[in-house]
Point group: C2
Chain length 154, copies 2
């Protein structure tokens, strides 16, 4: 339970993800989109659109940044803003037909590009890995919530 047992997993998590991201980004770049732009495109693909708030929650991009990212997608004709019918304060972001088309052309191939790397793990290992990652994520989220809400226990 000491740190000595924890550091190796921590290191591997970071190194593994860095390798994943390098691979993923090198492929995404061929679309001419940045990673955040791709993130938004993929989040909006096959949906009826989403408010800025929802987009922010799903992608971890803060609202100030999101305005700029959506601006750039809009400038490329890939997304557009629509007033929300439900809440006059809200704006819904939706892919244009061009955006949906790009999504289709790009998302499945991207998964297909990444998939073989995951297939080097046997099915059982993949299932275990998924489960452990989920557990770990839960712990991170719990710790973050506790960290951001300091000393409620006082």
């Amino acid at each position: 339970m000491s740190k000595c047992l924890v550091i190796p997993v921590l290191r591997e998590l970071v190194r593994c993800y860095q390798a994943f991201e390098r691979l993923s980004v090198s492929h995404i770049r061929e679309t001419g989109l940045t990673a955040p732009q791709f993130d938004i495109l993929v989040t909006l693909g096959n949906t009826d659109g989403m408010t800025f708030k929802e987009l922010g929650q799903r992608t971890l991009i803060t609202k100030g940044t999101l305005t700029g990212v959506v601006d750039r997608l809009e400038a490329r004709g890939l997304a557009r803003r629509e007033a929300s019918a439900k809440d006059g304060r809200s704006t819904v972001v939706r892919l244009t037909p061009e955006g949906e088309s790009l999504f289709s052309r790009v998302f499945e191939p991207h998964l297909a590009f990444l998939a073989p790397a995951f297939e080097t793990l046997p099915d059982a290992a993949r299932t275990d890995l998924e489960r452990h990652l989920r557990t770990l994520r839960g712990s991170f989220e719990t710790r973050l919530a506790a960290f951001e809400t300091p000393a409620e226990a006082a």
Copy 2:
């Protein structure tokens, strides 16, 4: 082996790491350093210094960016540049005593801050996780190398 079996692990890897990074960065920010600056500080800690080239390889920060990051660390008195004795083209970056001191004050506590989240996994699970992540990283690196060296097979 279809994509349907791969997507869940892929998703969990991304979501888990995002949660990790949020937690980690929220803690790092208290040092007044950015994530890349912290990355360099930690890489240089307890070493005799490193060239820009080595730093770039270890941290994935490209050389143009690295100049700026090191500039900022130098401006804070945390690092300094020294001419390499071995190669006149090289510059060695080394932590100053203030940099080493900050490293000591910050690195162990940061690990201690993150460790409890990993300790929610039983020892066996942690070992498995580490092994699978290592396998996966190997696959990513192999695929990346193949991707960046296109069509040698032609």
